[in-house]
């Protein structure tokens, strides 16, 4: 079997797969953040907590109601998305006309409260969530061993991202969203209910975070801190892709996951910081992000 720069292929492709899986979560989470930022102009710091809530709702559905993974994939985003809608109506709707900073502070505070409540109830040691039997095991591809569940996560994430991109870029509803992002006052003056559109968009963005949480539950343990650890990286992904850019979030999410995976192979010491190094370089060269529009 060949080696690349002295690295066995199993190690190389194994890390690339890990990078791709991390990239899947980066892509879904940054996509949700980008959609929310685009329309609501709010940097949703609660996103990590909502990702964690998705995983916890899946765990609760299984342990309290006997509802398994496949139904949880559908129900958890709906439940957490509905909670997002309540948050929007109760809190965020009151901040619409204020500076972004107020939304950021509010969502940051909410994230701390939500994480604190879950820590208080479930501790921080993590709760197990099993891989569904249909996706247990794996297959030998010759150059690497591919666990079925991890392959599923990559495929499902890609499908969700592409479907979301399609809805936003190619449908009438997406045209409403894009137009309302540019000029909500005029869209409203055409007879479109922009406040409702904003609330549903927030709910959808939160639902995406919860979906990522369900996908993550069998890979990482279900833990109140799982979102807090990830959200800073995801914000860096959003900045690199371009704030509010849908395509930027998807491409950058997967791309940075791969870069992180490659760094783990060739220079592991930098793996935890490589995304932030890329962010600094991108901000210096193209401050609006790789796919962002300059104002």
């Amino acid at each position: 079997m060949f080696e690349l720069l002295g690295i066995p292929p199993q190690a190389l492709f194994g890390q690339l797969l890990l990078g791709l899986i991390n990239g899947s979560f980066y892509a879904i989470l940054s996509l949700g953040l980008a959609i929310i930022f685009g329309l609501l102009n709010i940097i949703n710091f609660t996103h990590g907590a909502q990702y964690m809530m998705g995983a916890f709702v899946a765990w609760m559905l299984l342990n309290y109601a006997g509802i398994g993974y496949w139904w949880a994939l559908l129900l958890a985003p709906v439940i957490v998305g509905a909670m997002g809608i309540v948050i929007d109506r109760l809190f965020l709707a009151r901040l619409r006309d204020l500076d972004h900073l107020y939304g950021l502070l509010l969502t940051f505070g909410l994230a701390l409260i939500i994480q604190g409540l879950f820590r208080n109830q479930y501790g921080v040691s993590g709760l197990p969530y099993s891989i569904p039997p249909e996706l247990a095991g794996g297959r030998n591809l010759g150059f690497m061993f591919l666990p079925n569940y991890r392959g599923w996560v990559v495929v499902a994430s890609l499908a969700v991202c592409l479907a979301t991109w399609f809805v936003i870029e190619k449908t009438r509803l997406g045209a409403y969203l894009r137009a309302a992002t540019e000029n909500p006052t005029l869209v409203q003056a055409f007879g479109i209910n922009v406040p409702r559109l904003i609330t549903l968009t927030y709910g959808f963005g939160v639902g995406l975070a919860a979906l990522a949480g369900v996908l993550a539950a069998p890979i990482y343990s279900v833990n109140p801190n799982m979102g807090a650890d990830l959200i800073i990286v995801v914000f860096a992904v959003v900045v690199i892709g371009g704030m509010g850019s849908i395509l930027g979030s998807i491409v950058t999410g997967f791309g940075l996951g791969l870069i992180e995976g490659l760094t783990k192979v060739f220079y592991p010491e930098a793996a935890a910081t490589v995304i932030f190094v890329v962010m600094v370089v991108v901000l210096l060269v193209k401050p609006a992000g790789l796919f962002g529009r300059t104002a």
């Binding site: 137009a179 869209v187 007879g191 479109i192 922009v194």
Partner: protein, 246 residues
Amino acid sequence: MPEAARDIATKAATAPLLSVRGLNAWYGEGHVLHGIDFDVAPGEVVTLLGRNGAGKTTTLKSIIGIMRKRTGSVVFDGVETVRMPSRTIARLGIGYCPEERGIFSSLSVEENLLLPPQVRPGGLSVEQIFELFPNLRERLASQGTKLSGGEQQMLAIGRILRTGARLLLLDEPTEGLAPVIVDDIGRTIARLKSEGFTIVLVEQNFRFASRVADRHYVVEQGRVVDMIPNAELDANIDKLHAYLGV
């Protein structure tokens, strides 16, 4: 309502489609409209003339409900709208074409054209819009803001014709356009009038306005100070020059 303003209002046709009385509006703490009064009869084309900052654009924004802080009365087709949000007002059958045209850069020409929902039956079909504005047909896939200024204006007017709106609020549709395009827009407005649309036009260019309008309201410092029927425009031209400062 001041007596002079009431007098102006009663000169308008009876049974108006749009009736504005004592309309006040504010930008934050800035009081911009100080009791606007005017009527527009069904099928009429009426212009609001006045200097920059007189309150013409704010009047249109108040009618469509974009100005949040507004008081007075705006009755459209018998329905009081002054406390309604703009989305509800639009759905009564009012189409708004803003001064800066409001073409969305993230949408193609086709998406811009199809964006406003149909609020009432009787709107023009896309094919009829292409008959009015043939240029748009060839540019459907282009990004909205890649069109020329004239084409963007055609798109801005075309998209509200699809909605079934009976009252069109057009804010300076000729601003910054070449004379040949201004002629096209003039012909289009005349055709829309002949098809029964009611139009309120904000214009700086009163020569253009005189070609298409039935009556002209003069707005000064947030009030309607005069109404001049188009047939009497020549006789009042010196007065109008004084109002407009030309």
